[in-house]
Symmetry: C2
Subunit: 453 residues, 2 copies
């Protein structure tokens, strides 16, 4: 039964009545009603086309026909739980494993990045027998209780924050705005030393580190790219303390960074995490995710005696969809496209930096790019959140231009590019051209009215 399309205001009214208000819509003063999407384009109820620069879930492109077909075909045949044997499950696991260093060989299929990170913490705690977790400033690892605890991006939103005594926040390895910057002789070692110091303090209190967890590149935290070698040094400190290293690839995995399939590989060939979590892009929007770890950790987890069963995780439909996503990435050379178009986009944005003093920093790897806006380039003062500048910029102006872009980071002043991987040079041209127009307008305005004061 397909209902007739609702009038937009009716959709808004019903949403107000029946949908939890804690989930904010984009452009809340004038939200968009999207009814269709294809590739990197989304269409509203008037058939107006939007260029999607933000949707890292629709990884191989919205509604990719091969992914849709694989899902539909398997849905017709069988969709059941993993207590039965099924080829899709084991073949998909085998293929995912093949993208990773050999020792990461055991998969747990779950339904969301949050479920994956929660399970990663359980694996780490069971394997090490320790309880404490080290996380990074501004980190976001998910929306369930155990992850809000380790997500400063979330728990700092609470007025009555009660930080868990078993969670410790390390400095964000941000070489643009952090404590150790690009002019530091060895920021990787300096930031890793901060982790070591935390471990020592935890130890002094008689506690023990179960895991260090980090997004391989921080996304909500402001598109932060840790200096190469940082993960290796952190892993050394953490392992010396009996803990494990969890790389959260939920936002940045599956070829997005262009040069590598996994973002943690940017750190160097010699770095291998103990646990990797995956999510968002894995099923191109289908609710699924995965945790991959070593045989030793998997066996320790089993030896607890507690069965782990996930009703939907690893069902034949999810695994068929996951395989189709891997097929399309390969067939359409999307990792290479991310590298080429991402480099081109970064180049265009660097030109914007030359032109507009507002652009303080452009940083990216492949199709994961951040543009940090500042009031003052020398002091790196973020554009003021209070002023709603960035919000206005992307919410009103870019949306009017039918470009979907968002801002994030602790100061909400980092424009985030993380488009579907089929994003083209023409798309990059269009997006940057619109940004240029807007920044030029702001510049003129500023000269005249100094409205950035």
């Amino acid at each position: 039964m397909t209902a007739a399309r609702l009038d937009k205001q009716k959709t808004i009214d019903l949403r107000k009545k029946h949908i939890g208000p804690s989930c904010k819509v984009f452009f809340s003063h004038d939200p968009i009603k999207i009814v269709q999407a294809q590739g990197q384009y989304m269409y509203d109820e008037k058939n107006d086309r939007y260029l999607d620069c933000i949707n890292n879930v629709a990884h191989v492109g919205h509604c990719h026909p091969e992914v849709v077909k694989a899902g539909a075909k398997q849905m017709e045949l069988l969709n059941t739980n993993s207590r039965f044997l099924h080829d899709n499950l084991v073949q998909y696991a085998q293929r995912l494993q093949a993208t990773l260093p050999e020792k990461l060989s055991v998969c747990y299929f779950v339904n969301s990045g949050s479920e994956a990170n929660d399970l990663a913490l359980r694996l780490a705690r069971q394997y090490t027998g320790h309880k404490d977790i080290i996380t990074l400033e501004n980190a976001y690892h998910g929306h369930i209780s155990s992850l809000i605890e380790i997500s400063p991006y979330k728990f700092h939103q609470l007025t009555d924050t009660e930080q868990s005594p078993h969670v410790h926040v390390a400095l964000s390895p941000d070489t643009y705005r952090g404590k150790y910057r690009e002019d530091h002789p060895d920021p990787a070692a300096a930031y890793a030393d901060n982790v070591r110091e935390i471990i020592e303090k935890v130890d002094d209190k008689g506690n023990k580190i179960a895991a260090f967890i980090a997004e391989s590149l921080q996304s909500c935290g402001g598109q932060v790219i840790p200096p190469p070698g940082y993960f290796q040094k952190v892993a050394e400190h953490v392992r010396n303390a009996g803990g494990v290293f969890i790389a959260d690839e939920v936002q940045v995995g599956f070829g997005r960074v262009g040069t590598h399939f996994w973002a943690f590989q940017l750190q160097g060939e010699d770095f291998v995490p103990d646990i990797v979590t995956m999510g968002k892009p894995i099923g191109n929007g289908h609710p699924m995710s995965c945790v991959i770890t070593t045989k030793e950790i998997a066996e320790a987890f089993m030896s607890s005696g507690m069965d782990y069963f996930n009703t939907f995780g690893g069902n034949p439909v999810s695994c068929a969809i996951g395989q189709a996503v891997l097929d399309v990435i390969k067939k359409e050379n999307l990792q290479a496209n991310a590298l080429a178009v991402g480099s081109y986009l970064s180049h265009l944005l660097e030109e914007q930096k030359e032109k507009h003093p507002l652009v303080g920093d452009v940083r990216g790897r492949g199709l994961f790019v951040g543009v940090e806006l500042v009031r003052d380039r020398v002091k790196r003062t973020p554009t003021p959140w209070e002023f709603n500048f960035v919000l206005k910029l992307y919410q009103c102006r870019l949306k009017e231009e039918r470009i979907l872009l968002s801002a994030d980071g602790p100061h909400r002043n980092v424009l985030k590019f993380k488009p579907p991987m089929c994003f083209s040079r023409q798309d990059a041209d269009l997006a940057v051209q619109k940004i240029d127009q807007i920044l030029t307008g702001i510049h003129v305005n500023r000269e005249n009215k100094s409205d950035m004061s």
Copy 2:
């Protein structure tokens, strides 16, 4: 790319290598490889047909064509997150709401029963400002950290159980095996008094109750049907203490109990929970779930200042599938079928009870039926788990007969029927006929060899 079907042994070998061993396959000594399913039947790689008596996820029948079609159609059109307006989201919420008492009006769409129950706890804690949770003996509410804490079914599996000081376990309202039985003048009040006593003890320690959580009918706990009026009395005690009542309908909702759409409604028209969680059957196998609560609780949750965003939750595909499930339940009168066939099945099983001393109790509502096996009817001694009797019974014998049935409960001696809702009288006849043959065989055996000793 569809790979050729693997040899069964190869599937087993790959599973051993790449799939977390904590998830046990059914019939681990000789697991089944299911390749196709339709309605209440599953087919293995040799095309042998199994009657599925256990899959409460494939609610309207495996691979129901209307559900498949709705999912495929929407996958082609749009699958994105709920930061955009979409009719499927609000219309589905409106339809779910219409199945519930009016005050339960605000929906949060998430990806699994576990995510739903975790969010329910967060809602309760934020609304009440309290922390403590009361749960039932043998309860199972999910596999993520916060839920293992409130699931005695799970945390009792751990050797080094460390029960949270904020979690309190109340007596299971089991009138067959519990403290107050069918001969008690008012078991509902007696079991509710136990909850009241817990609240008083918590209060004495200076703590406060955020919520009482219970499956509307305990499933893993042994198909337990609480006496009518119990929930009302518990809710009164809990609300008097400033807490809320969470009804977990993940296993038993969506018409399964026959007389009502929701199992909590069996308690009486005057009972309304504050929060209801849904899962398994909601999408007929598609990974999705929902939490529904009152406007007051939703507003309190929002007022914390923390945004709640779920990447996949409430996407247009999930909502299309959810709506198709509601359509099919209605169109095919599946709730009425659950009542009619469930009653017939219970009647057949009652006949088995007359015939076989091993059958201690038959209890059920609609197509949610438990058969409790005992060594001694008067003492109600469970058939011994150590002896692997029940396990052998259903694992070997019923499986050989191509009937999929499972056993659960704290003594693993309760056979659980929770088949797809299209289960027919003929299916009931077949399943019970096979059980009869097996029980007869055991009886004869027992007379001869007393192998139940």
